[in-house]
């Protein structure tokens, strides 16, 4: 649907930039990964390094990390976006101010604190780490969903109602599409936060690339530390790139 009352904002600039970025990023990440591989291959590794940098070991930790991030991000989307929508509808919209305040406070809690607190009270392992990651990264998504929906021009909503659309149709065809950029900006933040925080999950038996980083630090083996850190950074950038693509697909044309 086209809405003529939209204030003219040329999206060409951003689209052009992200399009170039979309092509550059995978090439860059592949180059970084290849450089890391060649660097490690060229080293004379001792027994400790060989154990930690074995193909199966690294693959296992990397996939474990991807699982942690993917599961927690999917659940964040499934929880925070609907909740954000509910909190902007009557009769719950009166609760939105306290919720926003709470979300702001929650953002200040350090993730390692949440992880360890859960580990001590609930237990350890993959599922608990996912819960901790959700607690840490759901807040920005919830907040931005509410802010994005609130930021939609009232006159557009009334115009939608005026041409006979139901409340639900207005939500799905006017409000949410217009809020997409704001919501996805927070999803980007959430994913990158999750990639970083998931390294801490190694302390509570959830594995992941944090295992490599910890081993590298505690045994003073730079190749192990470097591998863990570089792979984490590559994963974060790859995730960011994926969301960039999602944004291109979901963003209404002309915005």
């Amino acid at each position: 649907m086209t809405v003529t009352a939209v204030p003219e904002r040329t999206g060409d600039e951003t689209a052009g930039r992200s399009l170039a970025g979309l092509l550059v990023t995978p090439v860059f990440l592949a180059a970084v990964s290849a450089a890391l591989y060649l660097y490690v291959r060229g080293l004379d590794l001792d027994a400790i390094e060989r154990r930690s940098l074995g193909r199966s070991e690294i693959t296992h930790q990397f996939l474990q990390h991807v699982r942690l991030v993917a599961v927690s991000t999917a659940l964040v989307l499934a929880i925070a976006v609907p909740l954000g929508v509910l909190l902007t509808r009557p009769p719950l919209d009166r609760l939105s101010a306290p919720f926003l305040a709470l979300a702001n406070v929650g953002q200040a809690v350090p993730s390692i604190g949440v992880l360890v607190l859960l580990a001590v009270t609930v237990g350890i392992g993959f599922q608990k780490a996912v819960v901790a990651l959700i607690l840490v990264s759901a807040l920005p998504v919830l907040r931005n969903t509410m802010v994005g929906l609130r930021g939609v021009d009232r006159s557009l909503i009334e115009a939608g109602r005026g041409i006979g659309l139901s409340r639900a149709a207005v939500l799905f065809r006017v409000e949410l599409p217009l809020a997409v950029p704001v919501i996805l900006a927070s999803v980007r933040v959430a994913v990158i936060l999750n990639v970083g925080s998931a390294t801490l999950a190694a302390f509570t038996n959830a594995g992941g690339l944090g295992d490599l980083i910890n081993t590298g630090i505690s045994l003073n083996r730079t190749p192990i530390l470097l591998t863990g850190s570089v792979l984490t950074a590559v994963l974060a950038m790859a995730a960011d790139w994926l969301i960039g693509i999602v944004e291109l697909v979901l963003r209404p044309r002309g915005l």
Binding site: D46, A47, I48, R51, S52, V116, A119, V120, G123, I124, G125, A202, F203, T204, N205, G207, D211, N214, T215, I217, S218, L219, N220, R221, T222, I224
Partner: protein, 318 residues
Amino acid sequence: MRKLSAAASLAAVALTAGCFSSTGTDAKAGSLAEGNSLKGVTLTVGSKEFTEQLVLCQVTALALRSAGATVKEKCGLQGSNTTRAALTSGSIDMYWEYTGTAWVNYLKQTEPIGDPARQYAAVAEQDLAKNKVKWLAPAPANNTYALAVKTTTMRRLGIADLSGYARLAKSDPSKASTCVASEFAGRSDGWPGLQKAYGFSLPKSDVATLAEGAIYDAVGKGKPCAFGEVATTDGRIKALGLTPVPDDKKFFPVYNPALTVRESVYRDDPAVEKIVKPIAAALTDAVLRELNGEVDIKGEQPSRVAETWLKSKGFIGG
């Protein structure tokens, strides 16, 4: 690689620059100060972050002060490598290190030497030649690894030693579930070597990787693992009713603590060695367990624990 180590030293300086550094409690002269004077000398004592290190840091600072030195404390630096870099870069003058740790981490060896005296001699010789770090007399204490289990569980499972544990790991792996820290999991003298020496291989699903300090509590609860890697001088072993499983094949190497000093400091102030010698000789496993327990279980301050112990031995006056 040289660039990296320079960066590490820089990082260590940066880390230690903002670190809690104080001139703690004073100490009157006791038996350590007889015939040893450090008047007009300023020294900086450092340590790693765990309880035993904090206590040893205070013990050393008080002992040196009792001989008239001005001592700055930089206790509680984060991790072995940071503390080591602080020593080699000169932001601290001395700290207590363990023979096995130096062997693996700084001398880049992977296979420990079984005999404690030979291990100490090898470390002391190489570290002085390569890194200009002087090792003073080692303590008899052996802060090595052990697998601990709740005493009641050990009886129920009918295990007498690590060979028994290995048999259980083969016949019923879920009952032999084990918690390890990432350092132990990566070391040749840790988990991989242990499995090789005792000829078992526990499936990944029965091995949990935790932060070092969390293992004691986990084993105490028996969740998520029955067995766990512990340090033999930790006070929590006794407090939580755990037993270190006897190492019948003598697999775990010996880790004697010793004060490591920068060579230049050792040359300029030879009295340091004389002052520390009786302290090192008195540090047995039992003493360290007791001192660590005072802090970890009773919640005493490391400085108080160190002071009380030094006075009780007559090492310092008071």
